[in-house]
């Protein structure tokens, strides 16, 4: 409960300041950014690349002609709630709409781990993760 009140207070404070960045989100983003720099020293997270990544469609491995994308389940608007294939609500991805997002590094890794395999059939790179978080954090 205290955490919830804390999150609300934090979100309100940040809302007034005009940014949806929380300290844990910044830490998580910085972690991926540093990791990406090891492969590419000049790497900088890019919101436009993150958005394109989120919307890009990939042919399903099942060969059923279905196109898979992040937006497929999360909807094309990350401020909205989405739905899993099993009809369960997915809370919004954008921290502006859901302050709990990107606040727990282990949870973020768990879901990148699962969903990147489902959509891309491979792990996402640190650069892709950084770009995506950069974009989602700027969505109002």
């Amino acid at each position: 409960m205290h955490r919830l009140i804390g999150s609300i207070a934090l979100a309100t404070g940040l809302g007034l300041a005009g940014a949806a960045w929380s300290a844990p989100t910044q830490d998580i983003l910085r972690g991926y950014e540093n990791e990406a720099r090891q492969a590419n020293a000049g790497f900088k997270p890019n919101a436009a690349r993150g958005e394109a990544f989120f919307r890009s469609e990939h042919a399903s491995i099942k060969g059923d002609g279905n196109k898979l994308s992040c937006a497929g389940c999360h909807t094309s608007d990350p401020r909205q709630s989405g739905m899993t294939r099993a009809h369960k609500r997915i809370e919004p991805l954008a921290p502006a709409a859901n302050p709990a997002r990107f606040s727990d590094a282990a949870k973020v890794e768990k879901w990148f781990g699962r969903n990147c395999q489902d959509v891309l059939e491979r792990a996402c790179t640190a650069a892709e993760k950084a770009d995506l978080i950069q974009w989602l954090s700027t969505v109002r």
Partner: protein
């Protein structure tokens, strides 16, 4: 004693009898209804099962499938009905043991036992909707109802059974969305 006190005592007596009758009635309703015990699957809870399994789908009660089904399912989470649902080994083990300990064939509830008995020993179903118990209980549900937007699929128990996660499949509580 005056007539007035007598009347007062009489009223008090009546009130006592009235209260007692209500109390007996309520406890009778609470303790005598064996049917409720059959309608509900036994209560079972585990925090990791609740948080991990319910992030993508309805929280399926462990007594809906036999132990062998849960063990098979939990050993193949990297391809879980087509999706990756991989867990860290500690969480995976904890949830597997919770599901196994409360599975249909290890439960004393009448409904759980009926579910277990409806599955031939040679079969290890992974979908609750493929058990004979399920198909028999839902034989009057038309194809059109399963396809309604608010239902979506046979996996979405909570669309009609609002307390599915608690193991409550009481037919009287079923509300089919339009």
């Amino acid at each position: 004693m005056t007539d007035k006190t007598n009347t007062l005592l009489g009223k008090r007596r009546l009130l006592q009898i009235f209260t007692l009758t209500i109390a007996v009635g309520i406890s009778g309703a609470l303790f005598a209804d064996d049917d409720d015990r059959e309608r509900n699957l036994p209560s079972a809870d585990n925090a990791k099962w609740r948080s991990e399994c319910a992030s993508c789908h309805v929280l399926y009660h462990p007594a809906l499938l036999p132990e062998r089904s849960w063990r098979k399912m939990m050993s193949g989470l990297e391809r879980h009905f087509g999706d990756n649902a991989k867990l860290d080994p500690t969480t995976q083990k904890e949830i597997t043991e919770f599901l196994a300990a409360n599975a249909a064939d290890r439960s004393s509830s009448r409904r759980a036992q009926k579910i277990a008995k409806s599955i031939p020993a040679t079969q290890t179903p992974l979908r609750v909707s493929e058990t004979v118990y399920f198909t028999h209980k839902h034989n009057e549900i038309r194809a059109e109802i399963w396809q309604r937007k608010a239902v979506g699929s046979k996996a979405n128990c909570a669309a009609c059974h609002s307390e599915a996660d608690k193991g409550n499949f009481d037919e009287h509580m079923v509300r089919i969305p339009k």
